[in-house]
């Protein structure tokens, strides 16, 4: 009898080994907290997330909304139908996009600022790092509002377990403006350089590891926010145009005269490295990433940007097709895979300043700024000083269209701000026109997952 029991107990002891496992990926528990490497990893995580958010079609949707870009793809008709025929679906890769990644970045920023790796830095290094992080946070809010517009977005609070309300566009822009001001204070009090290394794109056109240059970036974004506030059709903020001018004048204080392409390109850029192991390629290339015929046909004579357009082909999808593409989208050009893309460059800031100047009645200033892009990037003769705001706005829209298509939604944002959806090139014959009341899809819906989590209550609150 005893031998049976002994055998059974022995077997039990042999077999009943520990049941622990090893997690298959890094977790908070197995990354050494507080080290310089941790700080660098967390900072790079935020920066890389920002690049991923841009690549998640931030650069593209606005162009399609403004009827500048078109992606007639045989195996994915929604690139066309969801913008030209039906509203974007909040559950799919269009209507559900440009949301989650920004909030992941914002949460990552909050976690970094709480991490021992950050709190153990000197006060000056903390200032520089915090100023940079807050400036990137502000960029995320700007991009969220770019696509959600009056649908509003969430201002993310400190507690991940709390569902913060969806706020109106005006509220979010006010918050973002204050966030940038807070970042500016930090940057001014911070060390001259960041306590972590930035990707090479940040030093491609200006060294943005220097806090002095980050202050310029911060003010540039401040200008962007204030222009949006000033021109918000629903809740315009009277003081914002002047505030935008103040901020943008700081950001553009070093502008040369005459304007140079180098200065227009100055700013932080995304760098891409398609080779192993990063495998991050410039996202602009696409076999069906074309531009509309109207885009091609509307170049001013002599505009050197027209040389960037080449013939291309695409199937007809839901009745729409196109026959040209921008060179930068050519999928056969392998070199383009590592082509950098500006995050924010001075050309955009200069046109923003022109908007602020139009809003404050400074048409001479606006003409000067529009001409800076018009002559250098378009190779076109300078405009005479505009005599009306509408003339200045039309000229501004032209530059936005031909400078930023496939780079971002700047054109559709301005069309929205000036309520100019009924321009001829938008409503022309042959182009989709859903009717005067709702001519364009000019914003994306609140995503399905956000809506589900709120039991359908997505009305923005101030």
């Amino acid at each position: 009898m005893k031998k049976y029991i002994a055998a059974a107990l022995t077997s039990t002891l042999v077999l009943a080994g520990a049941c622990q496992d090893n997690p298959a990926a890094p977790s908070r528990d197995n990354v050494v907290a507080g080290s310089q490497q941790t700080l660098q990893s967390l900072a790079t995580g935020i920066i890389a997330q920002d690049r991923a958010n841009y690549g998640g079609n931030y650069f593209l949707w606005g162009g399609i909304m403004a009827r500048d870009a078109i992606v007639p793809t045989a195996n994915e008709s929604r690139f066309v139908t969801e913008f030209y025929v039906t509203p974007p679906d909040p559950s799919d890769f269009i209507g559900g996009s440009q949301w989650t990644g920004y909030y992941q970045l914002l949460r990552a920023s909050q976690l970094l600022l709480k991490d021992k790796a950050f709190t153990s830095l000197s006060a000056a290094d903390q200032g520089a790092a915090r100023g940079f992080i807050r400036t990137l946070d502000a960029l995320s809010y700007i991009r969220l509002i770019d696509y959600r517009d009056q649908n509003g977005v969430v201002i993310q609070g400190p507690d991940a377990t709390v569902q913060d309300p969806i706020r109106t566009k005006a509220s979010v822009l006010a918050y973002t403006s204050a966030l940038l001001d807070s970042g500016l204070v930090d940057l001014k009090a911070g060390s001259s350089t960041l306590p972590f290394t930035l990707p090479s794109g940040y030093s491609l056109h200006g060294d943005y590891s220097q806090t002095a240059n980050l202050i310029l970036l911060n003010r540039g974004l401040k200008g962007r926010v204030e222009v949006m506030r000033a021109l918000d059709p629903v809740a315009p903020n009277a003081a914002s145009a002047a505030a935008a001018l103040t901020a943008l004048n700081i950001a553009l204080a070093g502008a040369p005269s005459p304007m140079t392409e180098a200065y227009l390109n100055t700013g932080p850029w995304y760098q891409y490295n398609p080779s192993s192991p990063e495998s991050a390629a410039n996202p602009q290339q696409g076999s069906s990433s074309l531009v509309t015929d109207n885009f091609v046909n509307s170049f001013m004579p002599g505009d050197i940007r027209a040389a960037n357009v080449i013939p291309a082909s695409a199937p007809t999808v839901a009745g729409f097709t196109a026959s040209h593409r921008l060179k930068l989208t050519d999928p056969n050009n392998a070199a383009l895979q590592s082509s950098p893309i500006p995050i924010v460059r001075n050309a955009e800031l200069i046109l923003l300043r022109a908007q602020a100047e139009i809003a404050t009645g400074d048409l001479a200033g606006a003409t000067n700024d529009i001409n800076a892009v018009h002559t250098v990037e378009g190779g076109l003769p300078a405009y005479s000083t505009f005599t009306t705001a509408s003339a200045a706005i039309n000229a501004l829209l032209y530059e936005l269209r031909y400078t930023f298509t496939y780079f971002g939604p700047q054109h559709i944002v301005a069309l929205r701000e000036y309520n100019m959806f009924n321009l001829a090139y938008v409503t022309q014959a042959g182009m989709p026109n859903k009717g005067a009341a709702d001519p364009l899809v000019s914003s994306l819906p609140i995503t399905r997952n956000e809506t589900n989590a709120r039991n359908g209550n997505i009305t923005p609150v101030p």
Partner: protein
């Protein structure tokens, strides 16, 4: 832990109650077992002295020689496939001859009740379905899941595509889980075998999802590797009330597979030779153009590089109405299979063996696709004296699957994607100077026939499934036995997948996949799962009852290491990733360990009419939040054979079973990971999208199952009716979070789900004469699922493409497998006509799972001729037919023959209507076999005197489908196996039907 150990010790003590087996005087009784109505011996019949543990097994000639206590007794003679019989043996009798009737209704089959115990089906308290080797191999089967289609009430068995090599989902009694494992546990000869599915890297060229490989790689779940020919029987334990003893792996049921074993006596050699072919079952009717229509079409819609019809047709001659589906999928290649098995043993039965080997090739419906398998099995049993026996089972196999390209893609590479956009007046087969032309209508320029010839998709699997079992008969007396067994099993395989797309194809040259022409993806997955079981079984036979006590412990470990390497930018003819311009690597790993104890008590009493069972299993697992905590899974059941019977009724048994089983927490759900993000050579990290739960515990499913089994008309009819209810609590959910929190999901234990269902099995022998027999088996099952509570807001889950097409949502009050669709929208405008807001209507359109399903199996035997058929009918279930979406919107005005209907559907879709969610009802003639037994004399003449039998068979699989579904096949799944969201039809590999001619010879 301590309490479980005490329980274990108590079980051991109980099992070895001493002194009940005092020695008795015995004598030898010999006998002979034959088939009723003839002289054919029944080898392997079990002979037992009723009320004792004494007995033996009939040899190859049906003879037995056993010890019988002094005095008059009864002998119970049993053999699978025959009705058991009890015969008296007088006090002075020393020989007994017994004849057994064939058990066409399988009423006497032994069914599993625990890790080491079985009971006659006549007493079983659960509706365990047993499928024997004849039923499995009635037609040549690609895998065991297809062999079970239509034969198991409560099992929904669905093919993911028509591609060779398998990929089939088996789900028992509905969906118990949202995020956990949803498939049953497969146990082969005591070894828990892995049924994972891995991608082959197709995504590297299809771009359907993220990474190198994705769930859209048209995966094959690896149970497909098992060889149906080697299987003696499959027992399907459908839910926790039967499978509780398997602990956290029993919630979804258990499929227990027993392979063939040796038999004492003369060796028997079985050889099967099959030849066959395959054919596409269904193609879509494409639009045809007259030459004038084609000219108009091209002028209106010139493809890239052409101005109009003149230059287009100069380069691409008008080809009439060419169906590219037939060009690509029109192959009728030769399939073949050679299988041989040798079964035998020494005359004393101390050594028995079963060994088999097979070579199989299934042709695909394209000339380059196919499936090959080679397998070798050796099963040995050795008895060492009266107390110790050893068993060793080993199977080694190799499979090679070539499945081509199918399913979702974003690179205009899937043949059906290309065909959907190419008018039928273009001829893919045309060559210029021996080279296929580029399809000008495809953005990739891909010629589907060129791609099919040169793109390689081989997936090699090398697998070893082996077990060794040692048995020790510690006590063997007249009244009690105590047996211990120690079993170690291992299932190890290497899955080596290759995708090679050479750089010279139009596809690669177009830059659609990458600016670097040429793609290679190497997948290498190594899986090792092992288990060690220690079982003890004590049987005590007293006049009022028989008590069977079993107890034991079990340790499992499973390791998975999945590595993918990808290279883009290749030199022609070179597949070495190291030479590629651009490379990438993905890896996934996991390692799971678990440990469990169990104890079970069965009491058979009241003249073997009443069976009472109680059991408990306690288990811990490394995937749980607390890896050291044991979770318990009890079960209890009762069955009673009524002594009073209605007229014409032979037997009526009532049964009720209750059980709890778990569903193991998916690996790593307890962790909140950081996501690596690499930029500029620096490895960045941010928080992952999912918040883990460090207190996570297994889902718990409780099942109550009741029903009755009746046999009537002298064994000519059998009716089995079962009603069950399952309740899953503490569901492991990846509940949706507001993404604005910075996380998209959080793992929770919460919510409850209910499954209620009915299963009916009706077995009839309507005609049974000396020359003609008709046997009919009908199965019916229905299951209704409902999420009865949900502690978080409803959230989207499962795979899918958007709610506009149809997707899946976990929502209280609805089925977990409900399909929801946006069905239109309202825009509101202010007084000035300015857009204000837009609201969508969400429609709960139905369920992905069928309303009910039925299987109709009929065998007609006329002398030596047998005709067998199996019809599988499934009613209801919604499928999202995105293939139609491709064809509706490609080629201006649709590429379907019925352009008006397609345009109407497309316009309705653009107006927000849910037109792509379709009913998936179907009926399929799964199997049809005509078999003729040529007889022993003919076999002698043809194959020599050692031949015993020769049979010829003509058979077909999936021969006819009746359905209103407008796609290729309502069974297809773009995402492979999934509990929720498998019904997405995206340009699948078309379904096929198979035909075989077989010769079966026995020596």
């Amino acid at each position: 832990m301590k309490s479980v150990t005490r329980l274990w010790i108590a079980a051991v003590l109980l099992a070895v109650i001493p002194s009940l087996g005092h020695a008795q005087q015995t004598r030898r009784v010999t006998g002979h077992v034959t088939v009723q109505g003839g002289t054919e011996p029944i080898p392997g019949a079990t002979v037992q002295v009723v009320g004792t543990t004494l007995g033996g097994i009939a040899d190859d000639n049906g003879n037995f020689n056993i010890s019988v206590p002094a005095g008059a007794h009864q002998l119970r003679i049993r053999r699978i496939g025959f009705a058991a019989k009890i015969v008296p043996v007088g006090a002075n009798d020393n020989s007994v001859n017994v004849s057994l009737a064939r058990d066409v209704l399988q009423l006497e089959t032994q069914v599993i009740t625990g890790q080491a115990t079985t009971v006659s089906r006549a007493n079983a308290a659960n509706a365990v379905t047993v499928v024997n080797t004849e039923q499995i191999n009635k037609v040549p089967q690609q895998n065991i899941e297809s062999a079970l289609q239509g034969k198991v009430p409560g099992a929904v068995i669905t093919s993911n595509s028509g591609a060779p090599g398998g990929g089939i989902q088996l789900q028992l009694r509905g969906t118990n889980t949202v995020n956990g494992n949803y498939q049953p546990l497969y146990v082969v000869d005591g070894v828990a075998v892995d049924n994972s599915a891995f991608g082959n890297g197709l995504n590297s060229i299809s771009g359907a999802g993220g990474a190198i490989s994705s769930t859209q790689d048209q995966q094959v779940n690896r149970i497909a590797d098992l060889n149906p020919e080697d299987i003696e029987s499959i027992e399907v334990l459908k839910g926790p009330s039967a499978g509780a003893i398997y602990g956290s792996r029993g919630a979804n049921g258990v499929v227990v597979i027993t392979t063939k074993r040796g038999r004492a006596g003369t060796p028997t050699l079985d050889i099967v030779q099959r030849f066959g072919t395959t054919a596409v079952s269904n193609t879509l009717a494409l639009r045809c153009f007259t030459q004038a229509q084609a000219t108009d079409y091209v002028n209106a819609n010139p493809p890239a590089g052409f101005k109009g019809a003149t230059d287009y047709f100069a380069a691409n001659p008008y080809a009439g109405c060419t169906d590219a589906q037939n060009q690509l999928y029109g192959n009728h290649g030769l399939s073949y299979e050679t299988a041989a098995s040798l079964r035998g043993g020494t005359g004393d039965g101390n050594t028995t063996y079963f060994t088999s080997a097979g070579v199989k090739h299934d042709a695909g419906i394209t000339s380059t696709d196919g499936y090959d398998k080679q397998n070798l099995r050796i099963n040995l049993t050795q008895q060492f004296g009266p107390k110790i026996n050893l068993r060793a089972n080993t199977e080694v196999l190799h499979t090679l699957t070539k499945r081509g390209i199918s399913g979702n893609d974003n690179n205009a590479i899937n043949p059906l994607d290309v065909i959907s956009g190419t008018p039928s007046f273009y001829d893919f087969s045309r060559k210029v100077n021996g080279v296929y032309t580029s399809d000008p209508w495809a953005v990739s320029g891909a010629n589907i026939l060129q791609d099919q010839e040169v793109i390689k998709t081989p997936e090699n699997v090398y697998r070893l499934i082996g077990s060794a079992q040692a048995g020790w008969s510690a006590i063997a007396s007249t009244r009690q036995t105590l047996d211990f067994s120690l079993l170690g099993g291992v299932d190890s395989y290497s899955d080596q997948a290759l995708i090679y797309s050479p750089p010279f194809t139009y596809l690669e040259q177009s830059g659609v996949i990458s600016p670097y022409p040429g793609t290679v993806a190497n997948g290498n997955t190594n899986v090792v799962s092992a288990n060690l079981n220690l079982n003890g079984t004590h049987k005590l036979i007293l006049s009022p009852f028989t008590a069977t006590t079993s107890f034991g412990l079990r340790q499992d470990r499973a390791q998975v290491d999945n590595v993918f390497n990808q290279g883009k930018g290749l030199f022609p003819g070179i597949t070495n990733i190291a030479t590629a311009t651009q490379t990438a690597v993905n890896q996934a790993q996991n390692d799971t360990k678990s440990f469990s104890y169990y104890a079970q008590e069965e009491i058979l009493t009241a003249n073997e009419r009443l069976l009472l069972t109680g059991a408990i299993n306690a288990e811990r697992s490394s995937t749980n939040g607390d890896a050291n905590k044991f979770y318990s899974y009890p079960k209890a059941s009762i069955s009673y054979k009524l002594p009073w019977l209605p007229p014409k009724t032979d037997n009526l048994k009532l049964r009720l079973a209750y059980g709890k089983a778990g569903n193991r927490v998916p690996t790593n759900f307890k962790y909140t990971f950081l996501t690596p993000l690499l930029e500029d050579g620096v490895n960045g990290l941010r928080q992952g999208a999912q918040i883990g739960l460090n207190t996570i515990k297994p889902e718990l499913t409780t099942e109550v199952e009741g029903g009755f089994d009746a046999t009537m008309f002298g064994g000519r009819a059998g009716l089995e009716v079962t009603q069950y209810q399952k309740k899953t609590t503490g569901m492991v959910l990846t509940a949706g979070l507001a993404p604005s929190t910075g996380f998209t999901t959080k793992v929770i234990n919460g919510g409850t789900m209910r499954n209620v269902g009915t299963e009916v099995g009706l077995n009839l022998v309507p005609i049974q004469t000396s020359i003609f027999t008709w046997t009919s088996n009908t199965t019916f099952s229905r299951n209704k699922n409902k999420v009865t509570s949900l502690p978080v807001p409803a959230f989207a889950t499962g795979s899918g493409f958007s709610e506009r097409f149809g997707s899946y949502k976990i929502q209280q009050g609805y089925s977990a497998t409900q399909v929801v669709v946006f069905s239109g929208f309202d825009s509101t405008f202010d007084a000035n006509g300015k857009y204000v807001s837009r609201a969508r209507h969400e429609l709960h359109i139905g369920d992905q799972n069928p309303d009910f399903q039925m299987g109709f199996s009929n065998d007609f035997t006329l002398g030596r001729l047998t005709l067998s058929s199996l019809l599988d009918w499934r009613k209801g279930g919604y499928v999202i037919n995105l293939t139609n979406n491709y064809f509706d919107f490609n080629v201006a005005g649709s590429n379907f023959a019925d352009t008006l209907a397609a345009q109407k559907r497309g316009n309705a879709f653009l107006a927000g209507q849910p037109v792509y969610a379709e009913h998936g009802s179907f009926a399929k003639l799964r199997e049809l076999t005509l078999s003729y037994d040529l007889g022993e004399s003919f076999a002698h003449r043809m194959l020599g005197n050692r031949a015993k039998d020769l049979r010829i068979e003509a058979s077909g699989h999936n021969l006819i489908t009746w359905t209103n579904y407008t796609g290729y096949d309502p069974e297809v799944s773009n995402f492979g196996n999934a509990p929720i969201g498998r019904t997405q039809d995206v340009t699948p590999y078309p379904p096929s039907r198979q035909f075989f001619l077989s010769l079966n010879a026995t020596f």
